[in-house]
Symmetry: none
DNA sequence: CATGAATGAGTATTCATTCAT
DNA sequence: CATGAATGAATACTCATTCAT
């Protein structure tokens, strides 16, 4: 019964490894099949094509990551500790995923690109909610600099300080650069705040 | 100058545009040749293969960028204005280049990968020197928080606050994660400094 | 009668429909199995391979057709009415079957091709017998132009005027063209007889 | 210069032979390339894909055929001789082409199917014009049975007596069967006229 | 008997690179 | 130098057939 599920998982895990290592277009189904030690045709019994397999790999990886992050933060108490974890935990994941995400944006047919963006927006939304919770905690405890409490502060933090890979989903680069323009002052402000002498 | 030099430049410019737009593996020599309006074989008179052409495109783009940045900052006076420019100017470039750099890291044979890294280290070194000059200016004017004046502060700033794409050159991800571990405290420190209330 | 016979028939009917619609090579066993709502492997319990299934479908369809035609003609009285029916009834069937027959001739391994031809010759023989009966009726009533009463007149009529698909079974095209040469005079004769003014 | 044209022709001729022998879907590009003794990739320098190669083969064959037929008939004098040739000459071609045409109708993507139909309609139009010319000659000489001089008599002759393969281009089989219904009386009439005793 | 997962040979197509002219 | 035809290895995907359960 669960044998089929197990094999699907096996293929998915192998594919995830190879996609992470070599990227979407440089990973062939031959390689995935060989590494899973099954026939090429068998892969197609579980995933209708390469793009869907890739999508499944991305989805699984993101879900795993988010669950880990959520439990990790829930186990901590103080505002500073939670924020610390929120910054530290995702970095490795971001670095591992980013290249694949980026490359896929250039390799995938438009329909998948759209689904990929939608999926990432959902992921981004969950990350923003979590960050908002943490910052609210800090704000309630009177720890936060109030002139940073603008509506899109969470977005700026997520995108710029946490290397949120959602940036890289940008398809319309023009719009993206407009956003940079808008956010830039806040980035510089936080950065200079952070390095300039107090008093 | 000479006709040959001009033609080489023409190919290089076309290739740069196309590589930037579609990435390394999704840009074919057929397209480059067609866009340059020369024969495909002619490209091979100027560049021994696709990888070398890509390397040359990267090199040229970085040089252009660095020269622009350098002149821009030299024209400004105050520490804050220079730092502001140092943060703002590269962002667009970084975003435009990053995907290509990343994809190339997965597409290029090892020999080129090594050269690519060496080249990028050189670029990184020039960026670090420029940043050091600017921070020295701030430090000399007594503006900088002194407990941030550690040796590798410039590296941290370059990599994390400026989206220095040198990060993404990481081949040995283990070593890279060690470095994250090391730098992490400083990132959090600056970030919390920046967002926490003073006093 | 038995359950097994019913299931065999179910598969055969589905296969016949699909082969008629999409041709031999464009109909996959997956589709046949799905349309029959049984497992693909089950088909192989009833038919040893795709070719045999196709042969059975052809055989069944031809038998059905021949029985309908025979009964139809037996119910009519006059020579002209019978001949009329003999021309009219097969046309639709011929058009529906021809493409599949043709395609199968190019798709089937030689062993099946031979059996297919043998089978078609049998069908052709039954058709010729029926036509002979009808023409004998006309001849006996003194209706037929006697210089057309040569031995192979029935063959010519069957092949050329009734779109008898047996022509298309030709494997050895050389022999077939010889036959055309032989028959041609008769075809032209009937045709010109039919369109030229009398008197 | 003409070397490219010659090679294109070589490929086209080989393809025509193989398509004629094995049909569209059972002829692989590997086989075509091997039979032409060139590399598979080379075929793609001359024809963008298998369908276009097939279309080119059909087109060439039809043009050749039509030119031969036209010259042949122009060289003859009497009405009967011309009509004789019009019936006799196309038969071999029709038999050679029909199977391929039919199979392609089941194998080609819709865009090509449309082009194929358009092309065949043009071919059909040329055949009809030629037949009209011949029949006008007969009519002017008072040779033709006048109650057959209806408008669509040429079409009927072309489709039913000459095995005009245009029939087989039928995509909408319903409409086609309607046409059979309509034409049927005329077919029977000519046929019975042809075989029944005069007087 | 019924199932459907596993197989692997086969197919069209792409593209970096070579080389004769 | 310039050309562009020729090459062939590589790739995603299909499908008839087998076989363990």
């Amino acid at each position: 019964m669960s044998n089929a599920q197990e094999k699907r998982q096996l293929i998915l895990d192998t594919a995830t490894k190879l996609f992470s290592k070599y990227g979407f277009s440089k990973t062939s189904l031959d390689e995935i099949a060989a590494a899973t030690q099954i026939a090429k045709g068998t892969v197609y019994n579980y995933f209708p094509n390469k793009e869907e397999l890739f999508m499944a790999a991305v989805e699984q990886k993101n879900n795993e990551f988010f669950n880990i992050l959520y439990r990790h933060i829930a186990a901590l108490d103080s505002f500073e500790a939670k924020l610390h974890a929120f910054v530290q935990v995702p970095i490795k994941t971001a670095y591992e995923n980013m290249p694949i995400m980026l490359e896929s944006l250039r390799s995938m047919p438009f329909q998948y690109l759209k689904r990929l963006c939608e999926y990432r927006q959902n992921y981004r939304y969950r990350m923003l909610s979590l960050l908002k919770e943490i910052l609210d905690l800090g704000r309630n405890q009177g720890l936060l600099n109030e002139d940073l409490a603008s509506d899109n502060f969470c977005e700026v933090v997520l995108d710029w300080f946490l290397l949120g890979d959602s940036n890289f989903m940008v398809v319309d680069i023009e719009k993206f650069l407009e956003r940079i323009e808008r956010d830039h002052e806040m980035i510089i402000k936080v950065f200079l705040h952070g390095i300039l002498k107090r008093g």
